[in-house]
Amino acid sequence: MAEAVVMPKLGNTVESAVILGWHVAVGAEVSAGDLLCEIETDKATLEIESTASGILLAQLCAVGDEVPVLSAIALVGSVGSQGESIAEFTAETPSQPTASAMGRNEALEDFEHVEKNIVKISPRARNLAQRNGINYENIDGSGPRGRIIERDIEAALRELPAKVTPVAQAMLDSGDFKLAEGHPGDRRVSKADLTPVERERAAKAIPLAGLRKTIARRLRESLTTTAQLTLNATADARALQAYRRRLKTSEAGLGLAAVSINDLLLFAVARTLPEFPALNSLFEHETIVQLDSVHLGLAVDSERGLMAPVLRNAESLSLKQISAEARRLAEACRAGSIQPDELSGGSFTVSNLGALGIESFTPILNPPQVGLLGVGSINLKPVQQDGEVAFVPHIGLSLTINHQVIDGAPAARFLQKLGANLAQIDLLVAT
């Protein structure tokens, strides 16, 4: 009868060690306490003593092998016990349902010997474990030949609900993170234990259709048929913010509480544009048509895609009217009830990404319109005042023009005037 020498457990965090070299050859005599081999953990190099006496019958691991703790590394016994013993120590767990009933054979044992140093887990179970931050290495598999299968991870999940911090759980639930390799299962999983999941490429192929197809075509046409130039500027936003605060806190009966920064922007653009007819015009068939009224397109983000309903004759609407009409149009877009004629006939468009934290961007024109104002977020900007630097809130303005028909200077002048109007929006409303 042979005895196994196992890889000792070398502290709480060590799960495996690498064999550096054997000190006893197979066939040599060894006594309990003799130096058997040298190993290395991630922390130290150690010498392993034999725990049995007799002839070294087998070295179960080669130099360089990484061996889990508590698994057999060598067999010590008397000559003649070798064959049965290797089988015994490399055999399957007794829970194997049919092995004993059906008898064993050499081929089967060869198979399992190869497998004994790896954690056997199905891809499905591994994915489930990683998604949930479960360390599966110490889970007993209930699948064929000890394989960890989905139901084992599900069982582990039921048992270990509180071992993940809420933040880590949220990250895991997002599907974007998984537990990093080598996390010991007995420690609470925190954010630091997670690594990002490498995403499968091209998870879903969506053929272009409907509005998306139209948007794709129109934007491509826009870029290929016009010469687009974007000018960036900022405007003092103190008046905007102050006026907005006043509106927000105004009496409910006035119906002004819902007026947004964007409504004020629209109002300012509608009142500024008439002075710059070159920007409020359409360019098609080699002809520029300057419009008498401002038909203001309003970029709306809907589930179906980007839409631009039109505020007609915006230059003649009051701030309250603009606010109400802008809200009605945006809601109609989102509800899908917008009418086709409400989506056409614009002369200039405003697109606001400020609420999403965008400071400036390069909007794409909506031909035949020749100008489109992108509105950015409000940020503090150092401004020199009376010899001192003060931080003044400024709103980002990105104006794209069709440079074919509008030169840079007139466009810059429009931006300048718009900025001035915004800086005194309260007065502009009064005009």
Partner: protein, 822 residues
């Protein structure tokens, strides 16, 4: 056996002698005066020209193979070249008696026959026809090249260059070849000139040619068909089968007399005295003279005779006489045309099996120089005229060859650019309701047929409470097959069906009961027990433009038709570069309870062969819908049925089997039972055992199993299979095919690739054991049953608490059984 023919013991037991006709040997006697009367001078000179052209054509190939150059043109021809130098008179003489509408089919050594038939057809067709053929064939690809080479005196001269060029380009694997290079030296053909597929399998053309002759007879098309095959092929089974099939009594005793008798086929043995290196006469066979074999086939001895193939006019005379017999319906005919090849079997042949002196003896009697001498002696030409012919021929060959070897003028199929070019040729994927416009010939109105009975039956096998309805009053799987067959018979006038016991008996399993009353003999008939010929004839029939539905009584008999299924049925659409279609549905029945040679499911073997579609319906609904699909297509389908199922009513498709026409979508598996814990995917009759296993898994183990019938092996849409695998993570595949090499392993591999990250265990395969099929009483130990399925689930995928398996299905069994080879 039809009841109209009585076998009278008094007659059968009567003593008598079999008397056989005497067979002529080299009976043609040259009579210059008669020949001068029968042929014009131009015809006689053309014979010389054509023989010379063939000789030069082959010589150039020989030079390329052996010296890498011909008249200064360097070229390394990588492919085969089985040359017919020495055999020219046999080919040219034959074609002197043929018209363009007559078909010839050849062998691996058929360059000479292709050229001879083509040159003859060029003289027979008018110039407008020639121009149209050249313009339309392959979009004029070869014509464009040839036009640029020379200024031609007329369309015939252009057509000659086109013929030579297209053949060379095909041999050299060029896209401008007659079959885009997909046929090559051994398979070139050109249907507009009656040059049908040449076959690289020895004797392969015999049954295919018969199929084309059958097509001509059944569809009343003009002309005869000649199988040009080698002397050694007479000993191959399919040739023997074809000759017997061609000589069936029923053409005269049972078929409509006005149809015209037996199929017009001439088995023309090009007897060059060698089967590769073996010598049939004197060594490897015992017939003495090949012509004698005709005596075995029928009382007319196939009108067999030996002909001197070194005299082109003797061959023309014999061919003309046989053709007259064939057109009168008195076929089949057989010729033993002796000839000799000076060149080896192939360039690698060192002719170790024959002496130089033997070759010299034949060279001394060379047919070309001999015929040239005769022309001069009889005043048909003088030596300078013959010199001119020689010079023109060499000039043509050289000019055409320069273009044919040039990769710019004659490019190869651009597989590096369009890797799917051949994939696109594998199937034609067409819908063809009928392959001809005439009215189908039938014996009764469709509504008077057995459809009356079948359409009145219950179309679903269970009543509202789920209890089985009486089987005799419910439509069965076999009757669903019948309904699909009769539908197409009444739609497509070209459709024919044949096999063993197909008429009267209605097929061994009764699927055709009722068709005998509905169809004339020539559309449904019994064949000899000749599986190779059954399939080979169908291949020829389909290639000629008709729809054939042959039947093999047992799947196990496919071995007898191996070449016809694997090399002929599967290959010709792509080898023809889609010039030809293969509307052929081969019905094959998987047996049961009939022991080791009658109970095997060989669908996996068929699915392995590129070029075949493989269907295997498991329910009456699918049987009808899938056979409808197969019978309206233009591709070769091996249609597997199971004898376990013939009496099965529809119990799975809730609406039952529609009485109207419908089709199942090709390649689509069907989910018969949705589930979430495990997927069981089956092929064929195993479906019902999987459903039983699913019931037990639910009842006894609380597991929800999804059961999917693949229905198709090829083509097959894996998307629903992979979706199921991704859902359940555990997949068991089962079929009655033996496990080793089963198509299930292909499915398992593909599903693993498509769903790996979702799998909770390796895809498990449960086939029949790798044994002989045991007697019926021991079936359960061999075929997969519900027990085996649950055992394998327990041992490989999901151990079931408390379950005690009855069989060893663990992973260890895989290595153990593989090691033992069982």
């Amino acid at each position: 056996m039809p009841k109209s023919l009585t076998i009278d013991p008094a007659e059968a037991r009567q003593p008598a002698l079999i008397r056989a006709p005497e067979l002529p040997v080299n009976a043609y006697i040259s009579d210059p005066a008669a020949e001068a009367e029968r042929y014009t001078r131009a015809q006689l000179v053309d014979v010389y020209h054509d023989m010379l052209l063939i000789r030069e054509f082959e010589t150039a190939l020989d030079n390329f193979k052996k010296q890498g150059a011909y008249r200064g043109i360097e070229y390394n021809h990588a492919g085969p070249a089985h040359l017919s130098i020495g055999q020219e008179a046999a080919a040219v003489g034959q074609c002197l008696a043929l018209e363009a509408q007559d078909f010839i089919l050849g062998s691996h050594r058929s360059h000479g026959e292709i050229l001879a038939k083509g040159l003859a057809a060029i003289r027979q067709l008018d110039e407008a026809q020639l121009l149209e053929i050249m313009e339309r064939y392959s979009g004029g690809a070869a014509l464009r090249v040839v036009e640029a080479l020379d200024a031609y005196s007329d369309a015939r001269a252009l057509a000659q260059a086109w013929l030579v060029y297209g053949t060379y380009a095909e041999i050299f694997a060029r896209e401008t070849g007659f079959n885009k290079g997909m046929g090559g030296s051994m398979h070139t053909f050109l249907p507009p000139f009656g040059i049908m597929p040449n076959n690289a399998i020895v004797g392969g053309s015999a049954d295919i040619a018969l199929g084309m002759a059958l097509f001509k007879r059944v569809n009343r098309a003009p002309g005869i068909v000649i199988a040009n095959i080698g002397d050694s092929s007479v000993a191959s089974g399919p040739v023997w089968e074809a000759m017997n099939f061609a000589a069936m009594d029923q053409y005269h005793t049972l078929w409509d007399a006005e149809l015209g008798g037996a199929p017009p086929i001439l088995f023309n043995f090009m007897n060059n005295f060698y089967g590769m290196g073996g010598q049939p006469q004197g060594e490897t066979l015992g017939f003495g003279m090949l012509a004698r074999v005709g005596l075995a086939i029928n009382a007319a001895a196939m009108h067999s005779e030996r002909v001197d193939g070194y005299n082109p006019l003797a061959v023309a005379d014999a061919t003309r006489r046989k053709k007259a017999l064939l057109l009168a319906g008195a076929g089949p005919a057989m010729l033993d045309v002796i000839t000799y090849r000076y060149s080896g079997h192939s360039p690698s042949d060192a002719s170790s099996y024959r002496g130089r002196d033997e070759v010299d003896l034949w060279r001394a009697q060379d047919s070309i120089s001999g015929f040239g001498d005769t022309l001069c002696a009889e005043g048909h030409a003088d030596s300078s005229a013959l010199e001119d012919i020689k010079a023109c021929t060499v000039d043509l060959i050289e000019r055409v060859l320069r273009a044919a070897v040039d990769l710019d003028a004659s490019p190869r199929l651009p597989l590096n650019v369009s890797g799917d070019a051949i994939a696109a040729m594998m199937f034609s994927n067409e819908r063809a309701e009928a392959l001809d416009e005439r009215q189908p010939e039938v014996l009764q109105a469709k509504e008077d047929s057995r459809l009356q009975i079948t359409s009145g039956k219950h179309r679903f096998g269970l009543d509202e409470a789920g209890r089985p309805l009486p089987k005799l009053k419910t439509l069965t799987y076999a009757e669903a097959i019948f309904e699909a067959m009769i539908h197409r018979f009444y739609e497509d006038p070209t459709m024919i069906a044949f096999g063993e016991e197909n008429r009267d008996w209605g097929g061994a399993f009764g699927a055709y009961r009722g068709l005998t009353e509905a169809l004339p003999y020539h559309r449904l008939f019994n064949t000899p027990i000749s599986e190779a010929a059954i399939v080979g004839v169908a291949v020829g029939y389909a290639l000629a433009g008709g729809r054939a539905a042959p039947e093999l009584m047992y799947c196990d008999f496919m071995g007898r038709a191996g070449d016809e299924i694997f090399n002929q049925m599967a290959k010709w659409q792509a080898m023809s570069a889609n010039v030809l279609r293969m509307p052929l549905v081969l019905r094959v029945s998987v047996g049961m309870k009939y022991g080791a040679q009658h109970s095997q499911d060989w669908s996996s073997i068929v699915a392995h062969i590129p070029g075949l579609k493989v269907y295997f319906p498991a329910t009456p609904y699918d049987a009808k819908g899938m056979l409808n699909l197969a019978l309206r297509g233009t591709d070769p389908v091996v249609f597997f049925e199971s004898q376990r199922l013939y009496s099965q009513p529809e119990t799975l498709f809730a609406g039952g089997v529609p009485t109207d026409y419908y089709e199942v979508e090709e390649g689509e598996p069907y989910v018969h039972r949705a589930g979430s814990d495990i997927s069981i995917i089956t092929i064929g009759a195993t479906l019902y055992r999987a459903l039983e296993a699913a019931d037990r898994l639910e009842r006894e183990h609380g597991l929800s199993a999804e059961v999917i019938d693949a229905r198709f092996l090829n083509p097959l849409n894996y998307a629903p299979l992979a979706a199921s695998a991704r859902k359940t993570g555990k997949v068991l595949l089962a079929s009655d095919a033996s496990e080793r090499g089963s198509f299930l392993h292909t499915m398992a591999s593909n599903i693993s690739q498509l769903a790996f990250d979702y799998l909770d265990g390796p895809v498990a395969v449960l086939g029949s054991r790798n044994w002989i099929t045991p007697p019926a009483e021991l079936d359960e130990h061999f075929f997969p049953g519900a027990d085996g399925m649950i055992d394998i689930i327990h041992q490989r995928l999901l151990p079931l608490p408390g379950y005690r398996p009855r069989s060893e299905q663990g992973a260890g069994a895989i290595s153990q059984r593989a090691r033992a080879g069982v």
